[in-house]
């Protein structure tokens, strides 16, 4: 009797703990929808394309920030993905080499590294010499944040391919490059693509690395790679610090857009990438 009671109490406490853990997630989803949706309905299409309204004067739009987020994510991927994937391949192929071993450790440290320090670093090497915030600096900072995720996922995915396939490929007289990029990558593609998408989703929502690099822009869409550029998280951060009611509303709307972009990247990760059947 007592044992059954204990078990019930145990189960109940686990259920409560689980509920408390996921509660914030649902609360965020709910409050962003509840506060953001009315703004979107009111602002209509102009909210997505227009420029920021003046203080206390309507909604305008967050067009420059949306364009900025897409551009920054794209540029960051352009810079970061090739390097990161190759790094992952290297540490999977040469796990016992000194470089392979240290790369793995460094990547794991980089993953947990405070992103604001990445921003500071890029400010020092790009923003100060160039004398201006720029899209390029923002993209570089995001690329640095993105790379360890992609590299670690790539490495992991390649290592999960059973050794028999690698042997099989080599036994056909294929060169190592062909074995890795045609066979192993093909079989590991789910993991690699997951890593890429997680990296992209991660940087699309990043604020800290952009603070000292991208600069932000809410009224100019795009002025050049060497000029400041906007980003949705950056805009939200800047808007909520303002005393104007309409800016707070715009921030809610922008949050909803950011969340939708994030979900749009994440849902395919879980659903559509076909697993390789062994």
């Amino acid at each position: 009797m007592l044992r059954k009671l204990k078990e019930k109490i145990f189960l109940f406490s686990i259920a409560i703990a689980t509920f408390l853990t996921i509660l914030p997630l649902f609360h965020i989803l709910f409050s962003v929808f509840a506060n953001g949706l009315p703004v979107l309905m009111k602002g209509e299409i102009e909210f997505l394309t227009g420029k920021l309204a003046p203080p206390d004067d309507g909604l305008g739009g967050i067009g420059p920030a949306i364009i900025g987020t897409f551009l920054l994510t794209f540029l960051a991927s352009l810079i970061g993905l090739p390097i990161a994937v190759l790094t992952g391949v290297f540490s999977a192929e040469y796990p016992k080499s000194l470089i392979g071993k240290s790369t793995k450790t460094l990547l794991l440290i980089m993953m947990e590294f405070p992103t604001i320090l990445v921003g500071l670093f890029v400010m020092n090497i790009l923003v100060l010499p160039m004398g201006s915030y720029s899209a390029l600096a923002g993209a570089l900072a995001l690329a640095i944040v993105m790379m360890p995720y992609v590299a670690v996922y790539t490495e992991q995915a390649l290592r999960e391919v059973p050794f028999i396939y690698k042997e099989g490929a080599f036994a056909l007289g294929l060169r190592r490059s062909k074995v890795v990029f045609r066979i192993m990558m093909g079989m590991a593609r789910k993991g690699v693509i997951t890593g890429i998408l997680i990296g992209m989703a991660k940087v699309a929502g990043e604020t800290a690395p952009l603070l000292f690099t991208a600069g932000g822009s809410s009224r100019i869409y795009f002025a050049g790679l060497d000029k400041p550029i906007g980003a949705i998280p950056l805009l939200i951060y800047q808007l909520v610090q303002q005393p104007y009611e309409n800016y707070h509303q715009i921030a809610w709307g922008a949050s909803l857009i950011l969340m939708l972009i994030f979900l749009a990247i994440f849902i395919p990760i879980r659903l559509s990438i076909k697993e390789v059947r062994l």
Partner: protein, 250 residues
């Protein structure tokens, strides 16, 4: 000329010596079986013939392996593996590729054909040689993972044959197959040895006696006995071999 010859071959994994001075001569166009209990070094020995052992970082090799008189260590490993095909214990066609691509892959990347038409011919030829053609000719674009275990193994044989190798290494090719599929593979061996040399590793004396012309018995990394299959089975010279053949040691 002999297809494969090993000279004082010794192989270590780290400090552990697994092949202890093996001198083996494998004639051309026969089926040569290497039998022995598990862990005796059969697979290791086989993998030294096509230099696949080098994928294992802790493996160290001493002595020599000659392919038609020429040391494989003087050759490009890619060239060695093109001429010495291999079929593995676990059927390992590339599951993300089509049946066609699995066979075409090695031919294409080794640049053995000049046109798509020629490639089609080679793929068809290899699938017919491996007795798989009738079962897959209408579904060449299907993923290899949709085949049954026995079909997968014959696909692996086709994949190896497509490179037109001189030697085919088979590492317990029927160990993971059902009896019907296994006997199909054994029939194939009889057919294939007309054109190329087959070296098959097996832990089953029964299988060795069914498929091979020559047989060798490997025990604890040493070559105990080698000879024509009938002779070894009827009249083993070594007591160890006799024990193994009569099932008093496995």
């Amino acid at each position: 000329m002999n297809a494969i010859e090993t000279v004082n071959l010794r192989i270590w994994y780290g400090d552990n010596e697994v092949i202890r001075g093996v001198n083996l001569v494998i004639p051309e166009k026969v089926c040569f079986a290497i039998m022995g209990p598990s862990g005796c070094g059969k697979s290791t020995l086989l993998r030294s013939f096509n230099r696949l052992l080098e994928l294992n970082e802790i493996a160290r090799i001493e002595g020599d392996v000659k392919l038609f008189g020429k040391s494989v260590y003087d050759m490009d490993p890619v060239e060695v593996r093109r001429r010495v095909g291999m079929v593995f214990q676990i059927p390992n066609p590339f599951p993300h590729m089509s049946i066609y691509d699995n066979v075409a892959l090695g031919v294409k990347y080794n640049k053995l054909v000049k046109s798509k038409k020629e490639l089609d011919e080679v793929v068809g030829w290899a699938l017919k040689k491996s007795a798989l053609w009738d079962e897959v000719k209408d579904r060449l674009k299907d993923k290899a993972s949709q085949l049954s275990g026995g079909q997968m193994q014959r696909l692996c044989i086709a994949r190896a044959l497509a490179l037109k190798p001189d030697v085919l290494l088979m590492d317990e090719p029927t160990a993971n197959l059902d009896p019907v599929s296994a006997s199909k593979v054994e029939e194939l061996i009889h057919e294939l040895k007309k054109d190329l040399t087959i070296v098959i590793v097996t832990h089953s004396p029964a299988q060795a006696s069914r498929v091979s012309d020559y047989v060798s018995f490997l025990y604890m990394g040493k070559l105990i006995e080698v000879g024509r299959t009938e002779e070894v089975f009827e009249n083993p010279k070594s007591e160890l071999t006799e024990k193994y053949l009569t099932g008093r040691m496995g």
